[in-house]
């Protein structure tokens, strides 16, 4: 039965399975196979002595751990206190789950390890979406921001990107304060060495030798075991992290912080596919030694737009800091070119982000360019540290200083900490479900950079989704699923789990098919109700939201009920169109240069609406026609999404699938027909086969609104059309 000639991985996997079985005590189904497995276990131990080390990583609930007590048992454990971790623990706690946040150092909770800013194009929408789900980072950024800007103002509201420069210390302070005061949340310092799996072994997928287990908790370096049915791992770059400076390489998560090696082993042990990614960070400069006189300043917006829907203003509105722009020159480039051999980081084959390249790779790839822009960003009010955005590098310290001093304004600069590169493990995100739970181990969630993403916002977005779902699952409530049509969070997760990553993944507005629908201004309208219904939105926000929603409804109603012929509109001073078609006020907004104020004469009630609501209506109106078309596309998309494929679908039993397609399906286990379609290389035939299977097993009983599908009836068609309109 046990084949010694199998590959190493398979052997170890089998071993793991066997050892779990061997230790099992209670289950009747397992006692059946006990004697057999014990025998195999012995064989395995004999043939592969090194298995000893690997078994280490799958601690067993029943063996070494003390029995769970209220102090050592929670509903959800979140490992890591970065952006993903903070959001995850808060979200889980919000859903009502008893949550524990485990972090190496209490002091680094909410640390911004790279650039001192939040938001941007696309990213800003993520922050708003997190806020709409009652997450923290938007509110904290409003407290800690030192400069606020809306990017892409000239390009239309669909791609507005709110962004803020952040005071690092303030952010950390406010985040820690918020978490310490959070109900249902306990925070504990500790380094996790291992995950604890339940003794119960789930039946393996037919035809696949994949270890499947159920998480029971985690084990600390100290040996202490903490129990929880749901664990979220958000270890960022710490998973077997390595820091590169010049030719030096040493393990660390951030400068001065230990990498997490044991956990990486545990995950590999459980069968997860781990690969390496890298990223980098620029040196930090002493602001006192920078000569700003000839540099281009960049000021914040006045008045600033807050991230959070709960805020109408930000704390530091009248006290905003200034960024400065400078650039590299040919002299800088020459120094870099001459010293390329002194950096190990850029020579490696590991992939880094293409949109955030180190200055070395910029110079190598775009050799003809004579200058690259650098933004000098202040790191806060009570510090002189300046973050030179655009020149992350891994040259040795001496060369970094030499190079920096060729740059305009930095002639006499002092470097406080030199730039470095980080290389780290990430788990192939195709192992994940839409809730960010792993297929492989029930109850284990992964969020943040561990899934191959980059950026605070992406991490926080995954954190909030994983946190909510872990919390809900711990209380046996239905999950919160966000699709591509709901939110950028949905796009992010869907891209990760269907396409995987080859380079650090960052959100762009161009990643979304429904860019006009998914906007920064309507994230609350898209998500807050969903979140409240799922149970992750607190009452205060819900009340604020309801007020806004009511206003919005009233405003939209007013605007769409008010219909006039072009002639009549021209009487109100609107440009005349000659087609004789009656238009509602909302449709009039679609014409260029029409503003809400223009309707005050015709619809005086509008004046009473909150300006924020008016702004939302204006955007909605400007895109009416396009939103209707997009609505139709969303509908088509949602039809595919509504056809769910069971997670335990036996793909080997489906005929006429090509082997290539079958292996892809087995690996990614798409949750819906739509997701299956998006897998690269899927052929129409395979999709038809899947469709057939769904037909055979589970009929899609309901539409997206939960109504039964009565195909073909006119009423249904009408309803669908209205639905499409609403999106």
């Amino acid at each position: 039965m046990f084949n010694v000639s199998r590959k190493l991985v398979l052997v170890t996997r089998s071993t793991v399975t066997l050892s779990w079985n061997a230790y099992s005590t209670t289950s009747a189904s397992r006692s059946r196979t006990l004697s057999r497995t014990v025998e195999h276990k012995r064989m395995a131990w004999i043939s592969r002595p090194h298995c000893q080390r690997q078994v280490r990583s799958v601690t067993l609930a029943a063996s070494q751990a003390l029995p769970p007590t209220p102090e050592t048992s929670y509903d959800v454990i979140v490992v890591g206190g970065g952006h993903a971790g903070s959001e995850a623990c808060a979200a889980a706690a919000r859903t009502g789950a008893r949550t524990l946040l485990l972090t190496q150092k209490l002091d680094t909770i909410g640390e911004m390890s790279c650039n001192p800013s939040f938001g941007g194009v696309g990213k800003g929408v993520l922050v708003r979406e997190i806020d709409a789900l009652d997450g923290l980072c938007g509110r904290i950024s409003d407290l800690a921001g030192v400069q606020f800007r809306i990017l892409n103002r000239s390009k239309g509201p669909a791609v507005h990107g709110p962004r803020a420069q952040i005071d690092r210390k303030l952010y950390k302070k406010h985040m820690q304060k918020a978490l310490h005061e959070y109900p249902n949340l306990t925070i504990k310092a500790g380094s996790v060495s291992d995950i604890v799996l339940g003794a119960e072994i789930l039946p393996p997928t037919p035809g696949e030798n994949i270890v499947q287990g159920e998480i029971k908790g985690i084990k600390l370096e100290s040996g202490e075991v903490i129990h929880a049915p749901k664990v979220i791992i958000t270890t960022g770059t710490f998973l077997r992290g390595e820091i590169h400076i010049g030719l030096d390489v040493y393990p660390a998560g951030r400068i001065g912080e230990e990498a997490s090696i044991g956990l990486s082993d545990s995950l590999a042990q459980a069968g997860f596919e781990l690969s390496r990614l890298k990223t980098g960070t620029p040196p930090r400069l002493d602001g006192k030694t920078i000569n700003y006189t000839d540099l281009t300043p960049q000021f914040g917006d006045m008045p600033p737009s807050p991230f959070s829907y709960l805020n109408t203003d930000v704390v530091n509105a009248h006290n905003q800091l200034v960024c400065y722009q400078t650039s590299t020159n040919s002299k800088t480039h020459e120094i870099i070119r001459n010293n390329l051999h002194k950096s190990i980081h850029i020579r490696e084959t590991v992939k880094g982000p293409r949109y955030c390249p180190s200055i070395e790779s910029k110079i190598m790839r775009f050799a003809t360019k004579e200058a690259h822009t650098i933004w000098l960003e202040p790191e806060g009010y009570d510090t002189d540290v300046v973050y030179p955005n655009g020149i992350s590098m891994t040259l040795p310290e001496k060369e970094q200083i030499e190079m920096l001093r060729t740059i305009k304004g930095l002639e006499n600069v002092t470097v406080l900490r030199c730039g470095y590169g980080v290389e780290y493990d990430y788990v192939d995100p195709r192992e994940l479900k839409r809730t960010l739970e792993t297929h492989r181990i029930q109850g284990l969630y992964l969020a943040g950079q561990i899934n191959g993403t980059t950026g605070y916002e992406e991490a926080a977005a995954q954190g909030v989704l994983a946190g909510i779902n872990a919390g809900l699952a711990a209380q046996s409530k239905p999950p919160l699923i966000l699709t591509r049509a709901d939110a950028y969070i949905g796009v992010l997760v869907d891209d990760l789990i269907t396409k995987g990553v080859e380079e650090p993944y960052r959100i762009f507005t161009s990643r979304s098919e429904y860019r006009l629908t998914l906007r920064a201004d309507n994230a609350d309208l898209r998500l807050t109700r969903k979140g409240y219904e799922a149970g992750c939105v607190t009452d205060y926000r819900w009340r604020v939201y309801q007020q806004m929603e009511e206003d919005m409804k009233r405003g939209m109603q007013l605007m769409s009920d008010f219909k006039l012929s072009p002639f009549k509109w021209s009487e109100f001073g609107f440009g005349k169109s000659d087609d004789g078609i009656k238009r509602s006020a909302i449709e009039m907004l679609g014409f260029p240069n029409v503003k809400m104020e223009d309707f005050y004469e015709a619809i005086p009630e509008l004046k009473e609406l909150d300006p924020a609501v008016q702004a939302k209506i204006a955007v909605e109106g400007a895109y009416t026609v396009y939103l209707r078309r997009q609505g139709a596309e969303v509908l088509a998309f949602m039809r595919d999404e509504s056809m769910e494929l069971p997670a335990d679908l036996d793909y080997s039993a489906i005929p006429n699938l090509s082997n290539e397609n079958r292996s892809k399906l087995v690996r990614q286990r798409p949750a819906t027909l739509g997701a299956a379609k998006r897998i690269e290389g899927m052929t129409p035939t395979s999709i038809v086969e899947l469709l057939k299977y769904v037909q055979k097993t589970r009929r899609p009983a309901t539409t997206l609104t939960g109504e039964a599908i009565r195909a073909g009836s006119r009423k249904d068609r009408l309803r669908q059309r209205m639905l499409a309109k609403e999106f």
Partner: protein, 880 residues
């Protein structure tokens, strides 16, 4: 009317007269306004009667106007009049609503689109309603009441108008200046008397001629007002409603105004086929009716002007010069008001003139609400081909694809029908049609199957025809029929099992076929377009995602600077200095897209060479009977393909032979001679010949030289008009003069005369584009008897074929499939939409580009987001 009162009144001075005229103006106008929102706000403002406050909504304008007029007119004089008017108005409103209700019932029973507004007067107008519902007495009563009320109102107008004229009467001139109390008393008294009272009692002072004129005018006014009001109210309700619903059926739910009425309408609208064609007709109807209304408005204005002129009359007789001057002012006012009315009428008409389609109109794609169609049998030459249509508009497709006269086939019974092109009504094929009303169809939706002949030309023609039926009819995606069947619960398990194999073949075959077709030049071409498009998209996307703050660092600006200088200056003006870099980028894309657009357009304007070549080039031989067409065919094919005899009209049916001429696949068809004849069989042959001529890619006309010889006929030698028509129809028709062996030596001379004659004929045929040299038909002289000239002709023929089709062979850049063409057309549309948007809104522009790329991608493969991002990262150095 009580004359004594008037007579007893004291003499007056000028101002009251003037004010009376003004009041007259106001009150009459309020009545006019009440009868429809005739007067625009602007006009109200500029006329002296600004007393009528502005209001934009017409529904309750009547009452509103009256009330306003009542409150604003301070004179006590008019109070009783208005009170009375109000009473009638109320009554009229309620009745009118009831009538509308009844009409909507009528509408529901037959959503007749028959002329909403008859040109005839009001009486006739109501007849259809009554005729349709003879049993419902209530409706009749309502109508009666309505008419009565209208009459009453008109009479009231009449009466008021009459009364107001009293001051202008020579004798009772002084009555105007009576103290208000007296006047009021008198009016009250008058109005208390029955309204139907003949209003002429008081007209003792008028000359019979003036009275006649007044009666005439009053009647005109009455009719006009009644017609106008009823037409407008009815029309506005109905037409706007239908149009609204057509534009967006779901709006019904959000519209409070007439929810109940409308939902009933909606129900009916959904019951009938709400296809774009219908909507188009409605829109046209709407505009027509608006025109009519504008006309009526103008009529009304004429009446109004007449009234004004009439009012002038007493003024002219006024004794005091000062009064004349003052009254002159008010006349001027009336005139300008009249002019304004006329202007307004014109504007209104202009506003409702049909405009060209809005260029930025959006396409809705990929919804399951679309009607889909596809060739269900194997593509390629086959005996028969089955084309399946499924979706809500299947019925419309069936209706449009078959002659309008043929009845709707019985459900699920096969019937033979001629298939016609919905646009040109040209006959495509004669085939079998089966109508499957849903849900008893394969897909569960309404479905139609067309069984036509399997030739490529026929199949493509039918597909193209179906595609042209409407915007919501599109080609099906692979497996979409099955998908729909599945979604509509129509497939049970065994059927699915069976279908899987079928689909397997279908989709794989389609894919392979597409690939095979796309191989070579075509694939490279489409790919290169896609690459270009993705580059453009990448530029735009880069601009959106990184344009601000991350400083796209690239040479694009430098390259683009010169070429975009024109756009640039415009953009700079618009956006200011700060955003110039983005503007450069966007302008670059605009230029790129423009060139791509024109390239695709050029590609599509290839006269379908590729498709023709795939099917074989259809050549038809035409000519008068006994011209030697069959002999020519036999000569060319080198066998006795067609029966030849000296009897005119030997060939009855089309004889088709496929040939290889100079390497080109040619399908030559010999047809019956074109002439008018009593013989039914022969006429059928002629009809077939004409069909065939219309379908052909190239026509060869054969004329016997004997027709042109002076000796042959007594009359002037000329070509049969049928033949001449056929020749003229296609400018590329080649003309062969046969039987040259009979002419003797004067060949050249005869040819010259024929040439000039043909030229004359074509010039005489009032062709607009006469300049085109293509009208110069090429002429060859041949003899089928001796074979003389034929080889020369064939050589020339090959050269002509080469000229026309060579590019599509060597360049291999022609469209071989209808599917490609449709996607390309969609792509073009999106590109046009993008160009319309220009650089103003890059986000919407990107949206259009995405659509364009996805359409292009569907021909060869798919466009992924990653493709775009790859280009972005390759081309730009991005990142702070």
């Amino acid at each position: 009317m009580s004359v004594p009162h008037d007579q007893s009144s004291t003499p007056a001075d000028a101002p009251p007269t003037s004010s009376a005229a003004t009041r007259l103006d106001s009150s009459a106008m309020s009545v006019l306004s009440a009868s429809g929102t005739l007067v625009s706000r602007e006009d109200r403002r500029h006329s002296r009667s600004t007393l009528l406050s502005s209001h934009a909504f017409s529904r309750h304008s009547t009452a509103h106007t009256l009330i306003t007029a009542q409150t604003e007119l301070d004179s006590e004089l008019f109070k009783p009049v208005f009170r009375e008017l109000n009473g009638y108005q109320e009554r009229f409103e309620t009745l009118s609503d009831q009538v509308l209700g009844a009409m909507s019932v009528f509408d529901e029973s037959s959503l007749g689109l028959n002329p909403i507004l008859p040109v005839s007067p009001a009486d006739e107008y109501f007849i259809p309603v009554e005729r349709r519902r003879p049993t419902t007495t209530a409706t009749g009563d309502l109508e009666e009441g309505r008419r009565f009320t209208a009459q009453s109102i008109a009479d009231l107008v009449f009466a008021v108008w009459d009364r107001l004229h009293l001051p202008s009467d020579d004798v009772s001139y002084d009555a105007v200046s009576t103290p208000a109390s007296v006047a009021m008393e008198s009016h009250t008294h008058t109005l208390a008397s029955p309204i139907m009272m003949p209003p002429l009692h008081s007209q003792v002072q008028w000359t019979p001629k003036a009275i006649k004129q007044r009666i005439k005018l009053a009647t005109q006014l009455k009719t006009a007002i009644v017609t106008f009001w009823s037409a407008q109210s009815h029309f506005q309700e109905k037409a706007q409603l239908i149009l609204d619903i057509y534009q967006d059926p779901s709006e019904i739910e959000t519209d409070d105004r007439l929810r109940a009425l409308r939902s009933r309408h909606l129900h009916n609208l959904l019951a009938c086929n709400l296809d774009p064609g219908n909507g188009e007709r409605l829109a046209i109807k709407y505009r027509e009716d608006q025109d009519k209304m504008a006309e009526i408005t103008e009529q009304l204005q004429d009446v109004w002007l007449g009234l004004v002129m009439l009012l002038e009359k007493p003024v002219q007789t006024a004794s005091s010069k000062a009064e004349v001057a003052q009254l002159g002012d008010s006349i001027g006012l009336h005139e300008s008001f009249g002019h304004k009315l006329i202007r307004l009428g014109k504007n209104k008409r202009q506003a409702f003139k049909p405009q060209g389609a809005r260029p930025t109109e959006l396409r809705y794609t990929n919804t399951h609400l679309d009607t889909i169609f596809a060739l269900s049998t194997h593509p390629g030459k086959a005996g028969i081909a089955v084309i399946r249509v499924s979706g809500p508009q299947a019925k419309t497709v069936l209706r449009k694809m078959t002659p309008a006269t043929s009845p709707m086939p019985k459900a699920r019974y096969a019937v033979t029908r001629r298939l016609i092109c919905p646009q040109t009504s040209e006959i495509l094929d004669r085939g079998m049609v089966i109508w499957f009303p849903g849900p008893k169809s394969f897909t569960g939706e309404d479905s139609v199957e067309f069984h036509c002949h399997g030739g490529r030309a026929v199949v493509d023609g039918v597909l193209r025809g179906i595609g042209n039926v409407g915007a919501q009819v599109r080609l099906a995606e692979a497996g979409e029929f099955a998908r729909r069947a599945f979604e509509n619960d129509k497939l049970d398990l065994t059927e699915v099992e069976g279908l899987a194999d079928l689909l397997n073949a279908e989709t794989e075959a389609q894919r392979r076929l597409a690939l095979r077709q796309a191989e070579g030049g075509l694939k490279n071409l489409y790919d290169s377009w896609r690459t270009q498009l993705i580059k453009s998209m990448a530029l735009i996307e880069a601009l959106i995602d990184f344009g601000e703050d991350e400083n796209i660092e690239d040479d694009v600006y430098d390259n683009g600077k010169l070429s975009v200088s024109k756009h640039f200056s415009a953009v700079r003006r618009r956006q200011g200095e700060s955003d110039i870099d983005s503007a450069f980028l966007a302008s670059t894309v605009v230029i790129k897209v423009q060139s791509l657009h024109s390239e695709i357009k050029r590609h599509m304007d290839d006269d379908r060479c590729g498709e023709i070549l795939r099917d074989g080039i259809h050549v038809t031989i035409l000519g008068p009977p006994n011209a030697g067409k069959s002999s020519f065919l036999n000569f060319v094919t080198k066998r006795q393909a067609a029966i030849v005899s000296p009897i005119p009209g030997t060939t009855r049916d089309v004889v088709e032979v496929s040939l290889d001429i100079g390497g080109y696949p040619v399908l030559i068809g010999d047809t019956a001679g074109l002439r008018s004849s009593q013989d039914e069989i022969e006429m059928e042959g002629v009809r077939r010949a004409q069909d065939r001529i219309n379908l052909a890619d190239i026509n060869i006309a054969i004329l016997p030289v004997t027709d042109f010889l002076p000796s042959s006929r007594a009359t002037t030698p000329s070509v049969d008009p049928l033949v001449l028509d056929a020749i003229k129809k296609n400018p590329k028709t080649m003309v062969l003069i046969n039987k040259m062996d009979l002419t003797g030596p004067s060949t050249e001379k005869i040819l010259e005369s024929i040439r000039s004659q043909l030229r004359q004929e074509s010039e005489a045929s009032q062709d607009t584009d006469r300049n085109e040299d293509s009208h110069e038909h090429r002429i060859w002289a041949i003899s089928c008897q001796t074979g003389e000239g034929i080889s020369q002709f064939l050589e020339d023929f090959i050269i002509i074929l080469k000229k026309r089709f060579e590019s599509s062979l060597t360049g291999s850049t022609s469209i071989t499939q209808y599917r490609h063409r449709e996607h390309l057309e969609n792509c073009l549309q999106s590109l046009e939409a993008f160009l319309d948007l220009g650089v103003d809104d890059v986000v919407l522009g990107a949206e259009e580009l995405r659509h364009a790329a996805s359409d292009l991608g569907r021909i060869t493969g798919r466009v992924d987001v990653e493709d775009v991002l790859d280009v972005v990262f390759r081309e730009f150095c991005i990142g702070k």
